[in-house]
């Protein structure tokens, strides 16, 4: 607690995009509630506390830390341990921290190809094949950049996590609700849910929230969205042949993407209790593909041009397989 009695609050980003920070700012006026009830002691996007300031804190001095971003390098891992040590409550905030999110797709690649792609890319002039080095001796001293880990991992892969808030990013109304809950807890008006819970999420799938009309699903063909003459604004997207992850994605976002005519891509992760989001989607799709003939089924499945990418777009790093095995000829 600080002199003014307000519990301390921190928000940190590991390998992230900043969207979770913007989602928090998008609670708009409710940010003033955060200010009224907490003292923000570490939030690199918005204020100037540095790592050394956190290191100087007592263990558990921070009441609540929202940790977003995945664990991609040694610095991310170090900060995960640091924030765990200094925080009473550590929340894995957003898809990157809970399940790896889109950067988890890097787990499908081999290292050799990655080197080539970036540092010998089409617009890169690098005849000497220079590569970043973790330690470089400059005339004045040695300077370092963090070691890059072999795969992208989630927060729970490296530290003990108290709660999970999924979403890419979590929708602002859910964030405001969680903040409201924490403030109620601080005021003795409510209790925290059981440790390890996923919060800020519904108890069903996106399909349940989606207002589109659903009839019986009988899919004879998968269509790429740009190939549809017209996207029917009222009918279920999957029934129009568009690959929509709604059946295998947790509710809580108000199905904003399908409402806007775009398929759900699964950013809220698997429904609570589901172990592997991709497997759920495979199950759901297989049930509604309308054919019993193996040849015809293969043709229908050819319409899904990138199964691993589509089914694990957000949850690769937290799936059962977690990463691809490098094949001999690379990919």
């Amino acid at each position: 607690m600080t002199e003014n009695g307000k519990p301390k609050f921190a928000m940190y980003w590991a390998a992230s995009c900043g969207g979770c920070e913007i989602a928090v700012l998008n609670i708009h006026e409710a940010i003033l509630d955060v200010d009224a009830n907490f003292e923000i002691v570490f939030w690199p996007v918005a204020m100037d506390a540095k790592y050394k300031d956190v290191e100087a804190m007592e263990d558990g001095e921070i009441f609540l830390t929202l940790f977003n971003g995945g664990i991609r390098n040694a610095e991310n891992e170090h900060l995960a341990h640091l924030m765990r040590q200094k925080s009473q409550l550590l929340i894995a905030f957003g898809s990157c921290a809970t399940e790896g999110c889109i950067p988890g797709l890097a787990n499908l690649s081999t290292s050799e190809q990655i080197f080539e792609t970036v540092y010998q890319g089409p617009s890169t002039e690098n005849d000497d094949s220079v590569r970043p080095q973790y330690m470089t001796q400059m005339p004045e001293g040695i300077i370092e950049i963090p070691i890059f880990c072999p795969t992208l991992r989630t927060l729970q892969d490296v530290v003990d996590v108290d709660y999970y808030i999924p979403g890419c990013p979590p929708e602002s109304h859910q964030i405001a609700a969680v903040i409201g809950l924490v403030i109620s807890v601080l005021n003795g008006e409510a209790e925290l849910p059981p440790k390890g819970s996923t919060i800020g999420v519904g108890d069903s799938t996106v399909c349940d929230e989606c207002p589109r009309e659903r009839d019986v699903k009988r899919i004879k063909q998968f269509t790429r969205i740009q190939e549809l003459e017209q996207i029917d604004p009222d009918l279920c997207l999957l029934e129009q042949g568009i690959l929509c992850m709604g059946p295998a994605t947790a509710s809580g976002c108000d199905s904003r993407c399908p409402i806007a005519g775009a398929p759900c891509i699964g950013c809220y992760g698997p429904p609570v209790g589901v172990l592997d989001q991709g497997a759920r989607m495979m199950t759901a799709l297989a049930s509604v593909i309308d054919s019993r003939d193996p040849e015809e089924i293969e043709t229908i499945l050819d319409g899904i041009v990138d199964p691993a990418g589509s089914f694990y777009k957000f949850s690769m790093a937290h799936s059962l397989l977690k990463a691809a095995r490098p094949s001999e000829n690379g990919r």
Binding site: N73, E229, G309
Partner: protein, 489 residues
């Protein structure tokens, strides 16, 4: 023994970075290194994905400017299919984009860069942030800032589907249009935003230009660099964020040329250094001469200041007035005082708001033809937009099914990596000399050197260097191995 000071992490920006300042025995700055420690690998893991997913995949390069990636990706996907979206779709995209610019530039001025001026560069850390700003300027003004962001994000949600990471742009157009009710709401919010933009420019004139200390900082030498500038311009050579050709001007303001998206490869090349994950773009035709400015160096920047320098004016009347006043006050074109970027950014805010209203009152904006089905076989395409932080280039190659086979991205802030490094070094050299007591506030003034660029290093470091070696070589500045260590993750 060389003393070193580390600023780690840099703050009030998007992304990760650290500054290492080395002092010589006299206490003067020997050198500074601005290192970017982050990267995730988009150029690699987007390979194998269907091209229509790129607008939502590349969104996640940056959650502060996903709209920029969304639009660049959509335009690149259009180019891949050689499909021209209908006018309504392009206008909807540009309308969303204009509202986005208002939210983004507002966020930067009030929450990221602005607190240095509004609270003071060495105000206590606990106050030198958006909440301190709101306490100081009062809830009424604070409420306006919150409102400006809210309105902009409402437009993004109406047209783009979501407030962060929009989802409605696809090859050939949009997944939905807007109706008259939505249009009227968007127009109303736009008109309010024009007033808000002017109000912000008034605040800047008051708090910053009206403060001699700040004015000296802006006009002075500490944060000044003479270099090349680039920015998108329309057919009249006026600033446009969504479409056009990229204008390139030299440090004297002479236009070296304008390039179309598929010509970027003739103009921009990137360089690798061993001590950072981020690459350094430079003008290919001028060549890389090191971290120096001037006519003979390929170092260029792409920022609001660059865009104003590289264009002949603004396409909307109120912004144009401010554009003229800007260059009058600062002594003509081009302006090299990088801190003036904060001012340029607010002029762009005004243009974005005016453009918002223009598009919201366009007769075609509620049209029901918002998508053209592509008919050509997909191959290769480039899309360029101006991200708030700089020119953004997406280049895709696909197979005949439209699945990505190769991706090249040159992202807003990446353009500015060399200039930012130079600005940081110059600021450190000027501020830290023999006998200087190095305070937290002083180090913040070194950080102010990058903040005017409004960097976004999540954007910049989309790339992935690859495998973690078990052995690490320590190399010297020429890349020769000095020592070998074992490292573990």
């Amino acid at each position: 023994m060389t003393e070193r000071i580390a600023i780690d992490p840099i703050t009030r920006l998007e992304g990760h970075g650290k500054i290492e300042i080395f002092l010589d025995d006299d206490g003067n700055v020997a050198n500074t290194y601005f290192q970017i420690p982050e990267l995730r690998g988009f150029e690699q893991f987007c390979v194998g994905r269907p091209v229509e997913e790129m607008p939502v995949l590349t969104n996640r390069i940056c959650g502060v400017c996903p709209e920029a990636h969304h639009m660049a990706a959509a335009k690149a996907a259009d180019a891949v299919y050689k499909v021209d979206p209908p006018p309504t779709a392009k206008k909807l995209r540009e309308l969303l984009y204009s509202a986005f610019y208002v939210t983004d530039h507002t966020t930067h001025f009030y929450a990221l860069g602005g607190p240095d001026f509004i609270m003071g560069p060495d105000a206590p850390v606990a106050e030198r942030n958006i909440l301190g700003v709101i306490h100081k300027v009062g809830l009424e003004i604070g409420g306006k800032v919150i409102q400006a962001r809210k309105y902009g994000h409402t437009v993004i949600e109406i047209i783009g589907g979501r407030k962060v990471h929009p989802c409605t742009s696809i090859p050939g157009g949009q997944t939905r249009g807007i109706n008259e009710e939505e249009r009227a709401e968007i127009e109303k919010m736009g008109r309010w935003s024009v007033d808000f933009a002017q109000f912000s420019l008034d605040i800047f004139a008051d708090i910053v230009l009206g403060n001699q200390e700040y004015l000296d900082l802006i006009l002075g030498d500490i944060y000044s660099h003479r270099m090349h500038y680039i920015g998108l311009v329309d057919e009249n050579n006026l600033v446009n964020f969504y479409d056009g050709l990229v204008s390139v001007v030299d440090p004297n303001g002479k236009r070296l040329g304008k390039y179309a998206p598929d010509e970027y490869g003739d103009w921009i090349a990137e360089r690798v250094e061993a001590w950072t994950y981020l690459k350094f773009p430079y003008l290919k035709q001028v060549g890389w001469k090191g971290f120096v400015g001037g006519e003979d160096s390929g170092v260029y920047s792409a920022t609001p200041l660059s865009r104003l320098n590289a264009a002949d004016g603004m396409a909307t009347p109120l912004a144009q007035e401010h554009y003229e006043r800007f260059f009058e006050t600062l002594g003509g074109k081009p302006v090299h005082q990088q801190l003036a970027t904060h001012w340029a950014r607010l002029i762009e805010l005004l243009y974005a708001a005016e453009r918002w209203v223009e598009l919201a009152t366009d007769l075609e904006i509620t049209g029901d033809d918002f998508h053209t089905v592509p008919t050509e076989t997909p191959t290769e395409g480039v899309g360029i937009v101006e991200a708030p932080r700089g020119t953004l280039t997406h280049h895709y190659w696909t197979d005949e099914r439209g699945v990505l086979t190769k991706v090249n991205l040159i992202v807003g802030t990446t353009n500015n990596y060399a200039p930012i490094s130079m600005s940081i070094k110059k600021a450190a050299e000027s501020l830290i000399t023999s006998g200087t007591v190095v305070t937290e506030g002083l180090l913040n003034m070194v950080e102010m050197a990058f903040r005017s660029y409004d960097p976004c290093f999540g954007c910049a470091t989309h790339s992935l260097p690859g495998q973690m070696p078990l052995e690490v070589k320590i190399t010297d500045a020429q890349g020769e191995t000095v020592e070998t260590l074992r490292q573990y993750c």
